[in-house]
């Protein structure tokens, strides 16, 4: 356990599958989760496509890493944010996105879905509050 807890933000701006960014970002989040920091994962622009429901990659012969996002809660990632304007520009709503559950093993506190759709101003504010930003 490190003594100083920093606010880490992972910013995702790329669609999945077309490039390797989304998958690499997810790997870095999972690795970073081991360091007991205050982690948030932000999805803006084409990054919002990473969270769409019902991804089925069988016919394209690629690994479907969409189910891995649902495990983020188990890695003590408690904050997942989606930029509302990015969703709207793409004809999407929160109903199109997967849900990620979270549970505190010690207190048994549960949250059904930690994916939060937020206004762009809030995205900016959260970025400003971050100590470290990882960009993908």
């Amino acid at each position: 356990m490190s003594e100083i807890v920093k606010k880490f933000m992972y910013v995702n701006r790329k669609a999945p599958y077309g490039t390797i960014y989304a998958w690499e970002a997810l790997e870095v989040v999972l690795v970073g989760a081991a360091f007991d920091q205050d982690v948030s994962v932000m999805f803006i622009d084409d990054g919002v496509y990473q969270l769409t429901k019902g991804q089925d990659t069988k016919a394209v012969g690629m690994k479907n890493f969409s189910p891995t996002y649902r495990t983020l809660g188990d890695y003590e990632v408690k904050k997942i944010y989606v930029d509302e304007a990015s969703l709207a520009a793409r004809g999407l709503t929160q109903d199109d996105l997967i849900e990620v559950a979270w549970e505190d093993m010690e207190t048994e506190e549960e949250v059904d879905n930690i994916v939060e759709v937020i206004a762009s101003e809030r995205v900016s504010a959260l970025m400003n509050e971050s100590d470290v930003i990882f960009s993908f």
């Binding site: 999945p16 990659t57 394209v60 520009a89």
Partner: protein, 102 residues
């Protein structure tokens, strides 16, 4: 000479689709695949641009790439034709050349 224009980049990240639709002529075919499929979806900020293009040329979208990204055929703009990999091959052979808007 008929041309098959392919677009494999997101219309929100690159200007590939925009350039493609600007230069493709009435006898051309356009195939959206990989991240290009996002242009085929309804309710987006590029829908009007795609709908306008459908008035002059044929637009196809690769089904497996739609499915991989979590979208079913009922989410695509009316008038866009869904093809499979065999259909992709048919499009390349039915046209004289291929212009890939990378």
């Amino acid at each position: 000479m008929s041309i098959l224009h392919t677009v494999n980049k997101s219309p929100f990240e690159r200007n590939s689709l925009e350039s493609c639709l600007k230069f493709a002529t009435a006898d051309a075919a356009v195939l959206l695949f990989e991240d290009g499929i996002y242009a085929a979806l309804t309710g987006t900020s590029v829908e009007a641009q795609v709908t306008a293009a459908l008035g002059k040329l044929k637009i196809h979208v690769l089904g497996p790439d739609l499915k991989a990204r979590g979208f079913s055929e009922d989410r695509i703009i009316a008038g866009i034709n869904v093809v499979d990999y065999a259909g992709f091959v048919d499009l390349t052979t039915a046209n004289d050349t291929v212009q890939a808007w990378l």
